[in-house]
Symmetry: C2
Subunit: 500 residues, 2 copies
């Protein structure tokens, strides 16, 4: 039996990484640029990012944060002060050494105007923001500082993949300063909860919240919390992190304050971020072999109407399509009007249908003379294999519910995939079996929950199997157990997985 | 008689440039960073920029544009292809030559991993976007392309001033491609009109729309339209530009398409942009010797309530302040709820008052036990010298109107300043007189409308007086006249001014 024809080739089953690239291409989300490792985010992809930004920004503001903007460049000396941080972050970065171009005697241009001190294009802004905060903070009255920045950052990645790992990417970085450890810890928790809520409620992507182990932490952090999601190839993707930095950065950057009692103390800081990687996570969580699948809450367009007509029925059909559009736009979904458009381009109906399917539009409607006569429309919902006829009035009155249903079905499907591919493991043999594969290219494995006693002792095995500890899930460590590898008593249970 | 005490020192009259810096400082808008020429935009300043962005972005989308994102870096070879463009824009720029930091044997770090081809941090994105469009455009069916980008750009400025001229700044750049010259010209006009409407309706800043002369055009443009505003020191500030690029960039970048008739043609392109410079324009248009003055449509906060109490009246006053806030928040202004906050910080009333005055909050309310007893509040409107008592119910019901009135009074005041300092000039003596000053530091001059025959012939005089041609105003050139300098017949009347 031949496989059913799919809009994306290869399918997920055949070649997952290549399927991912093809979905991005077919949905017109982004493309590689001529600048190594940098992508062009195309309008459909950028609208997704704008919707992500808008939702997160509202959540940041609702939790008391304000936005600000700090310089793109970091003096090299700032990085020299923080060896551990540089080791982790700033080694592979873009270095500005000149501030002018001049004509080359052989033709063309050449760099001129050498800088006294090289500047680094920010790979993250901890150091420059910390130096600024050190000037702002004098007294406990200046605290807390609760600031977020939306920005571009650059890390010179050797192997890039659109949205998941690019040299330049877009992100937000929150940087906060507090008078006490307790307040800073509460902030760290609050922001990972914001990320969890955003991932689950907006992206329809179930996540596990937990702490990173010592070896997986952000360089210089005391505690790194993350949200971890399972992609359809059963690999984990870290989708957001929130760091409790203790007094480490405050000491390196000299952020100190006169306390209420009168002494001078170093402050307690946090940082937290998500990036355009979320778009990659969204793609890999929901999309199928026909292309992108968008959760309605983030979809730039909820409903597209395709008028179907030949020559002389055009006026009638277009009038009907417009009145249908207006009625749908008057409906609401998730507290705002339904976003609906008419696609009246002069291209073949089949081509037009697949155009919107591949771009993940949640609901696609067709209306032609026969539908008008019958008082019906033909309706395709992106996660359902078959389109169906429905009375026009019923369609309009249930459009909000249909979007809600799709949003929750996408979440449920992703949760089901994760639950179906999650095991609890208590010994090395099962661990090896779970993470070994007969065929390198095939999808295998998933999330393994297992007790472990000593991170160092695990290292050779994890390295061999290319598995990482994703996190120690929050609230999942109430009873002690036995290390799956050494059999020793263990206090912590972690989630293990192959990861992006 | 001693001068009345002002919150900002020096006053505009005494030292305008220093007054500008002090307003920025007092209003907490921004500060210089430790990176040469780069500023930190603080939360109050960034909220202003966010409001500017939001309003403009809505206008761009309403005129059919979509956002996208292109790489921060431009390969040096792209600039080598466009000599004229580089001459104008890319000479002073940040050049990335290395992609790694490594430990220096003498301690510290040093650049390593030399790039084969240097990368330029974008001073503007014409070249990289053009190279991308060349791939996207094949047929007339692919046109028009109507894309905007919100981004940071870098120009290595030697003398910087916050918001007005900084090495890194934030902006938007629209880049569009069309099949015909007429369409591209219409786009250029449409976008300068968007800028004019935004300046006048949102910023309350009157502007003159016109064409730049050949010498003042964007490098490579066929026509540059700009909006020009008069600051309170009577200098001009170019607040936005819209360029008709003809086929010049399309030829350099090989953007061509199969036309409807069948041949292959080069496309017609435009670009248009505004930047964080608008914040500088806003400051210099409306602020006074007590600090920032914000047009209500862009103010992050419309109304601030200061509860006035001593110890035991706190509960009563706070309850009243909260109910007042809720009633005001239920009112609307410019189609959205009034933005109102309570400032309950534990600082002296006078200090608190001046804090908000200096930050330009449009309306400041005080409410204490006596006001509660009398059913009144004490109200200060930012452009009025005296606060006044008003019945609470009247205040609530007229709050939207008061904001509207303030918005139009600010526009009227700025227009009055411009009209009062605009002259028509017909001979050299008057021109010299208007633009000469007895005292270098004093405010003088303004806008001079004058016919001119030949831009080159004006150059020595303009250079001597440090005057520039701002633009040839649109619709102001219906009848020919006589050149003010040469007495020759002249077709064009321009606005001359000293400028930022
Ligand atoms: Zn210290
Ligand atoms: Zn060509």
């Amino acid at each position: 039996m031949p496989a059913p024809k799919t809009a994306i080739s290869p399918t997920r089953e055949v070649d997952y990484p290549e399927w991912y690239q093809q979905v991005i291409k077919a949905a017109d989300l982004a493309e590689n640029s001529s600048v190594r490792g940098c992508m062009v985010i195309k309008p459909w992809g950028y609208q997704l990012w704008e919707n992500i930004q808008r939702a997160l920004d509202d959540m940041f503001k609702a939790t008391g944060h304000q936005n600000a903007y700090f310089p793109l460049f970091i003096p090299m000396s700032y990085l020299e002060k923080e060896a551990e941080h540089v080791e982790g972050f700033a080694k592979e970065c873009a270095v500005v050494t000149h501030h002018r171009l001049e004509p080359n005697p052989d033709g063309g241009l050449r760099p001129a105007g050498k800088l006294e001190e090289p500047l680094i294009v920010r790979p993250t802004s901890e150091t420059i923001i910390g130096a600024t905060y050190a000037k702002w903070v004098q007294s406990y009255r200046d605290l807390p500082i609760l600031i977020n920045q939306w920005a571009n950052v650059v890390r010179w990645e050797m192997r890039t993949r659109m949205f998941l790992r690019t040299a330049e990417f877009l992100w937000q970085e929150g940087h906060t300063v507090h008078a006490t450890a307790a307040e800073a810890i509460a902030e760290t928790e609050k922001m990972v909860d914001v990320y969890r809520d955003f991932a689950q409620d907006w992206m329809a992507m179930p996540v596990i919240v937990g702490s990173k182990t010592a070896k997986e932490r952000f360089p210089g952090a005391v505690d790194t919390l993350s949200i971890e999601a399972m992609m359809q190839d059963r690999k984990a993707l870290q989708a957001g992190t929130s760091h409790f930095l203790g007094q480490n950065f405050a000491k390196a950057q000299d952020i100190k304050f006169q306390s209420e009692k009168g002494g001078v103390e170093h402050a307690w800081t946090t940082s937290w971020g998500v990036s355009t990687r979320l778009v990659g996570a969204l793609i890999m969580t929901h999309s199928d072999d026909d292309g992108l699948v968008l959760p309605p809450r983030l979809a730039p367009t909820h409903v597209v109407i395709q008028p179907i007509y030949k020559g002389d029925s055009r006026a009638e059909v277009m009038a009907e399509a417009q009145s249908l559009r207006d009625e749908i736009a008057a409906q609401s979904y998730a507290g705002a009007p339904v976003r609906v458009t008419i696609d009246d381009r002069d291209i073949r109906g089949g081509e037009k249908k697949w155009y919107h399917v591949k771009r993940g539009v949640p609901i696609r409607l067709e209306i032609g003379p026969k539908d008008i006569a019958a008082g019906t429309v033909f309706c395709g919902i992106r996660n359902q294999p078959k389109s169906f006829g429905i009375s026009r009035s019923e369609l309009v009155s249930t459009i909000g519910t249909k979007l809600e249903t799709l949003q929750s079905e996408l979440f449920a499907a992703a949760l089901h995939l994760r639950e179906s591919n999650t095991v609890t493991i208590t010994n090395e043999a099962d661990f090896r079996d779970f993470f070994s594969t007969q065929n390198e290219d095939k999808i295998h494995g998933g999330f393994a929950h297992a007790y472990f006693a000593d991170e160092d002792a695990l290292e050779p095995l994890l390295k061999e199997l290319k598995v990482t500890i994703r996190c120690v899930p929050r609230g999942d460590n109430t009873t002690p157990g036995t290390c799956f590898l050494t059999g020793r008593p263990a206090e912590k249970k972690a989630v293990f997985a192959k990861a992006y």
